[in-house]
Amino acid sequence: MDNQVFPNDDFILTPDTVFPEDKHIVTPEKPIIEFRGVSKTYQTGTHALKDVNIQIHPGEFVFVVGASGAGKSTFMKLIMREEKANTGDVLVNGYNLTKMPRKQIPMLRRTMGIVFQDFRLIPTMDVFDNVAFAMHVVGEKPNVIRREVAKALSQVGLGHKARSKPAELSGGEQQRVGLARALINKPKLLIADEPTGNVDPNMSYEIVEMLSRINQQGTTVLMVTHEHNLVRDFHHRVIMLEGGTIVADNAEGTI
């Protein structure tokens, strides 16, 4: 994306240089997400994350698991720059989120797609407009929007429901609309925050299969889940959080 190239801004990481001693510069071949000694303490005094170090590389599919209060939400919020780390560096898609000014947050978010547990579809808009919405945000032309949205909806099997309102869809269908919206701008990174939390078990498998196919096409997928059977059945890397620290990082999908 053109708005990622600001050579003079130190919060943007140059693509072709490696400065190992400089902690906020990495290359794109390097991790798409990297936490370096990241800690986050909220104003209430809660230590959500403690000295987290992790690397997620382009093309990976990663499950993030852990009990409630383990730090999963904070981990995801830091990646989406909804929260800022107190110490350490969070590097995502070529941006150093710790040093990034607030006005650059929209540019960061345009490099990622986000799927929510509660779907987050606008009830007054139909399926087509809900997906098109994400393209309008980046100022895409109407004819491109029409073409791409139609394509995305048929990819998630909802081409025939383009003019339906979200309330007329099942949970699984709504989540597929959310997925189409997250992918419409072709992000390098897809963040799915418990995407199967509000759908039936069969649909859960279908959604993770869909995410796996997307991952096979090159998109990095980071999925938070509580469903251990999904983690076991899909054999992707698993990061387990507990008490704000990473207690396990298994490449083969074992918990």
């Binding site: 989406m80 909804e82 929209p106 978010r109 929510f116 987050r120 606008i122 919405f133 309008h136 919206r181």
Partner: protein, 341 residues
């Protein structure tokens, strides 16, 4: 921001007015109420001003000069002998007893000179000289037939009983007392006849109405702004989800802000048009009701454009500023968050 985005957001602003129509109707209702009151206050001010102007144009003061007749018949008539009951009762004195030094205006030339001096007084618009002959002629024309005989008796006794005088038109009633004092103090002026109390009352009413209307307009203007801000705030909280999704997919603050501003402005424009129609209807009804007793109402067409302009200005300003303020405040507070709803 790209032109496609501006077009899209403008459409969204219009769509939002319809989609959130209950909230829109509530905002329009309150805005219309404020605008109609503002419009009424303006029209009342305008009409009072016009009525005052009409009254001021008729604001005439009569001045009588200090000539021989004023000494004989005027308010300050000289009584040669205090014990003379006739003289003190009627205020009349034998003509031959009055020495020329007892009065200042001896002929028409001197009276005209006094008129020239009167014209120099500030707030005096015109001075019309009325000679004693003209005054007598006018008096005879205006009094009843039986009373005209009284003038003839006086004429037979001492000649023309009327004094030279002048009809003075004042520019405004605001400095009425000072002007009357200046006229009275002019050499050659014997007495001034005016409706000072009425002038003061009219001037007072005008000032009071103007002040009341100014405050009504000011307060209602602020109320309109607060109402639009509040409505937009409620709308915003109702649409937290929409805003959170906008932020999640990478919308900039201005992208989030623009549809709300357009929506606010559109509500303002709709309210302005409805208010104009309502005011027209009310004014017409008021005009018909009062036409028999009060026929100087300004035609609505004269003020229609001004009113519409004011309504549009209030509506668009309140809509744009109110929504821009509220959305900026909201974005500042919750702008980067989109997960926690």
């Amino acid at each position: 921001m790209k032109i496609q985005s501006v077009k899209y957001l403008t459409r969204e602003g219009f769509r939002n007015v319809w989609v959130n129509r209950l909230m829109s109707i509530a905002s329009i209702g309150v805005l219309v109420a404020c605008m109609v009151l503002i419009g009424m206050a303006l029209l009342i001010t305008k009409n009072v001003d016009r009525t005052m102007q009409t009254l001021e144009q008729q604001n005439v003061v009569m001045v009588y000069f200090n000539d021989k007749n004023s000494v004989i018949y005027g308010e300050n008539a000289v009584a040669p002998n205090a014990s003379d009951a006739t003289a003190s009762d009627g205020g009349a004195t034998e003509t031959n007893d009055i020495p020329e030094s007892a009065y200042l205006v001896h002929n028409e030339q001197e009276a005209l000179a006094v008129c020239e001096n009167l014209k120099k007084i500030a707030n005096v618009t015109s001075v019309e000289f009325i000679s004693s002959d003209e005054a007598l002629k006018r008096a005879k024309e205006t009094v009843l037939e039986g009373q005209a005989a009284a003038f003839e008796i006086l004429e037979e006794e001492n000649g023309n009983p009327m004094s030279h005088g002048a009809k003075i038109t004042l520019q405004s009633m605001e400095n009425f007392d000072a002007t009357i004092s200046a006229i009275s103090a002019t050499s050659g002026v014997d007495s001034v006849v005016s409706h000072g109390d009425l002038a003061k009352k009219i001037s007072g009413i005008k000032s009071a109405i103007n002040l009341i209307c100014f405050w009504i307009i000011g307060i209602l203007g602020i109320i309109s702004l607060v109402i639009v801000s509040n409505t937009i705030r409620v709308t915003m909280y109702n649409r937290k989800l929409e805003i959170s999704i906008m932020k999640a997919v990478g919308a900039t603050d201005s992208f989030v802000r623009l549809p709300f501003i357009i929506e606010g402005m559109l509500l303002g424009v709709i309210s302005a048009l409805i208010s104009e129609g309502l005011i027209y209807f009310c004014y017409r009804v008021a005009g018909e009701t009062m036409s028999e007793t009060f026929n100087t109402l300004i035609p609505f067409s004269e003020e229609a454009l001004l009113l519409l302009g004011i309504f549009l200005a209030i509506g668009i300003f309140a809509g744009a500023v109110g929504s821009a303020f509220m959305i900026s405040k909201y974005l500042k507070k919750e702008g980067s968050e989109f997960k926690a709803l």
